[in-house]
Symmetry: C2
Subunit: 214 residues, 2 copies
């Protein structure tokens, strides 16, 4: 009887390509961020708002947009003058390292120091696939509720940074920033937690600084 462990093969092939992406980008002095979160957590708005900050040199930043369908998000990056490429998975629920490798090949990375991947909106599947990022950012919003770290631990365990977005809506919800932060730290004591409102432009300096001075 032969047993084929499909998932392990998929993941180890992915990890191989991810390592290649990371090493190739490192060699060119580029740091890659992988931005993950629920659909509607505000990942693309966070990029729009942070990259518009006066401290950001847009010529040094490129963005890979991941979506199942549409090029809405790449157009949003294009409109603010950020070099960008849209990856469409046509139904697949997460980006994998080989897709990002194709994006890297297609992008003009001359002069780029920061490459940001705006992953597909998904709290589960995206967290299992390294893209070769140097830093992983989990984006969540106060309207999603307090229970997310413990219900979706993999993302929060593997994130270097956790951004709590839509803080302007805090007074209208039952979200508890301290409890959420404590739950994140119970899973991942080293995760650095930011709060912000990308929509209102609040707390953007720290996020801009993260992208510019890593």
């Amino acid at each position: 009887m032969k047993t084929i462990t499909v998932n392990k093969n998929v993941l180890s092939k992915n990890d191989e390509i991810a390592a290649r992406n990371k090493s190739s980008l490192s060699g060119r002095g580029i740091r890659m961020f992988n931005l993950l979160g629920s659909p509607g957590s505000g990942k693309t708005t966070l990029l729009e708002s942070a990259l518009a900050h006066e401290s950001v040199d847009k010529s040094k930043i490129a963005v890979i947009e991941g979506d199942l369908f549409t090029d809405f998000d790449a157009k949003r990056m294009d409109e603010i003058g950020i070099r960008t490429i849209q990856l469409n998975t046509e139904g697949a629920c997460h980006l994998e390292a080989d897709m990002v490798e194709r994006g890297i090949d297609e992008l003009d990375l001359e002069g780029i120091e920061t490459l940001i991947v705006d992953n597909i909106g998904n709290l589960v599947c995206t967290a299992s696939f390294s893209l070769g990022e140097h830093y992983r950012i989990a984006v969540t919003s106060v309207t999603e509720g307090n229970d997310k770290p413990l219900k979706y631990p993999k993302l929060f365990k593997t994130a270097d940074y956790v951004v709590i977005n839509k803080i302007d809506l805090l007074p209208f919800t039952n979200f508890d920033v301290d409890r959420f932060t404590a739950d994140v730290h119970s899973l991942n004591p080293n995760a650095k937690v930011f709060t912000c409102s990308a929509f209102k432009g609040e707390g953007m300096e720290a996020i801009a600084d993260l992208f510019m001075n890593h």
Copy 2:
């Protein structure tokens, strides 16, 4: 050379079990609803709020809670006096028909007329797996933004009902109910769209009616 189409086999086996679930429930006069949406769209709060409505006879309703980890949601159903069971997928990103079949076997369905499955928070993967439901409800919230139907079309194409939740937060967002509804109907002209705030208890009568009088 042999080609194994894994995904097709998985889906057709799932469809077989889904058909068995549906026919077994139909034979007992039970209608099953499959509740899908992003993490934090408010699926469980919608159930808490709708099932607390005075028009609801709680003895006729049971809930299957799906989560990767934790039994937070089943406890919430238990607290409001709803017969419930928690399914934990331990990391898997969606429920499949065989998991729900096990839930049905474990639940006491005597006197039950409505069985609601509160699926895992995921706009992508959950939409591909029928559980044998008679009706599919997509739950979305105004804080998730307008672009979701076109970016995640599969769920909106296959939903019988679409619930736009957190309508109390509408004044603080750039969400456009008419545009969202038009996008849903461009994908799925027959979907019936509701607006509500489960958190504030607004618009709950129509949702309660949906669960009681299908």
